[in-house]
Symmetry: C2
Subunit: 302 residues, 2 copies
């Protein structure tokens, strides 16, 4: 998986900082997560082809997470898009986007499919042969979901030497990779573990923003390879975090620790702080490794 941060700052777009948006590249998909104002310009800036985006996941309906969406949807039309676009987000998103388009007497000439979310329990919202996406119910001022992206369990890896040794016909290879034992012509059972190696662990990424400190997400994101967790504030402003239902860097790290994730990425910073390093420092005391998101930065996951 490759994660590219298009924007990771709280509240409003500024000259040098963008509101939330990121792109996750996984198994030929280019998933767009949140779409703050200016996202389409950030996509251009980072050379991400608009045509590769078919699925957009919106965490919640605060402006800094979706005010770039109407413009992006319109631009797709101007670019002559023909293929389907799927938008996953809280109930209300369909009416908002369609109303804005109708006001301009315009429409999309490509199929625009809204998947409106209302469940307070985690649910699978996208699945194909290789990837599964499910919601992570979060605790914010409005209905908010994080998103868990998981590669599906891969097939076992063939032990070439072993299958040669047992002189197994190629016709059985797919069966073996699926984990089945083999019965030879003389009735002998060859256990699958002698013919295969464990597959590489499927990679997983959890996006959790915006949210207060919310330990009930821990079982859902247990041992993900990478957790992006909002850290709007430092502990010195924990009272503001509580009041606005955001998290501190320390709280993000607590979640990462409890869930034993592979790596924590912090983001959604308030612009009140002089240096992002303050966030890393605070989180590192509780959990490591900690990475700092920043606009334009990419991370390889898994």
């Amino acid at each position: 998986m490759k994660l590219t941060i298009l924007g990771c700052y709280a509240a409003t777009p500024r000259t040098l900082t963008n509101p939330t948006s990121q792109v996750l590249e996984v198994k030929n998909h280019m998933f767009l997560i949140d779409c703050g104002e200016g996202t389409q310009v950030q996509l251009r800036k980072h050379g991400i082809k608009f045509s590769r985006i078919s699925h957009i996941f919106i965490s919640h309906l605060h402006g800094d997470h979706f005010f770039g969406l109407p413009g992006l949807v319109s631009t797709f039309r101007l670019l002559g898009r023909e293929k389907e676009l799927h938008i996953y987000g809280p109930k209300g998103i369909k009416e908002a986007i369609t109303m804005l388009l109708k006001l301009g007497d315009s429409w999309t000439n490509y199929p625009l499919c809204f998947h409106e979310l209302t469940s307070v329990d985690s649910q699978v919202i996208f699945e194909d042969a290789k990837v599964i996406v499910q919601t992570i119910p979060l605790d914010h001022r409005v209905y908010t979901n994080g998103f868990l992206f998981r590669e599906k369990e891969r097939e076992r890896t063939l032990n070439i030497e072993a299958v040669r040794y047992y002189e197994i016909d190629k016709a059985y290879f797919n069966t073996i990779k699926k984990g089945k034992d083999i019965v030879t012509e003389i009735g002998e059972i060859i256990p699958n573990r002698e013919l295969t190696f464990d597959p590489p662990k499927p990679t997983s990424y959890a996006f959790c923003s915006d949210t207060a400190y919310h330990p009930s997400i821990v079982p859902l994101i247990k041992e993900v390879d990478c957790l992006y967790h909002e850290a709007t504030f430092l502990e010195s402003e924990v009272h503001l975090a509580k009041k606005t239902k955001h998290a501190t860097a320390k709280e993000a790290a607590e979640i990462a620790k409890q869930a034993s994730v592979g790596k924590l990425i912090l983001g959604h910073y308030s612009t009140r702080y002089s240096s992002l390093e303050l966030f890393r420092k605070e989180a590192s005391v509780v959990f490591e490794p900690v990475e700092l998101a920043d606009d334009g930065k990419s991370f390889h996951i898994g």
Copy 2:
């Protein structure tokens, strides 16, 4: 008047070009005209204080002219704005903006006043002691208004030498500046023209975008000091201009010529052309002087 172009390109925001937005500074007002996506970042970039903006004029409800408005309205709240904000635009704009705010369970803590426009005739939409703003009905694919900003007729300038010569008391100065004649104690009438000079001509600016070639606006914008007229295309693409109800550089110049304006500024360029100079060249054959708008450029008017 000082006009600052925040964005003047057609269609979608790109890395180096912004959709329509401009700021007109006149008599202590900072009027914002149109508000494409990214306008708030452009305002910051050009050091324009958000608190100085109290009136926003939206020409029409195509995304490239108003998708930056929800974000700007939200940012005003985050910045703790208390004073009124007036938004003038086509019917529907109120429902759109309030719906987007409601979805985020947010509202403005300052008075937000919508002035929805439906008239197909020119109407005065703002007036105070020094400035008057009226609509310029345009011809585009959706209901669209340009805006005419005029300083009001100023008071006549006192001829200090003359009033001294006639030994006129200061108490009469305001009456004289308003154009009244003076009757002396012995009943002699001193005509106002002997006591005053003509006031400087009031400055005027007309914003006309988006629109097809539409000569019926000419009487309205007659002899304005400065006309901003869209020129999405060159004559070589006049068929596209007709189809999409936009104008060519030549057509913009025809309007400027018929209205005998002081200066023509071109803008709303399609990004298909290699150089903006092509627009100037085409327009200059018909009318001069022609200026080219560009993002970040300022013009002094009057």
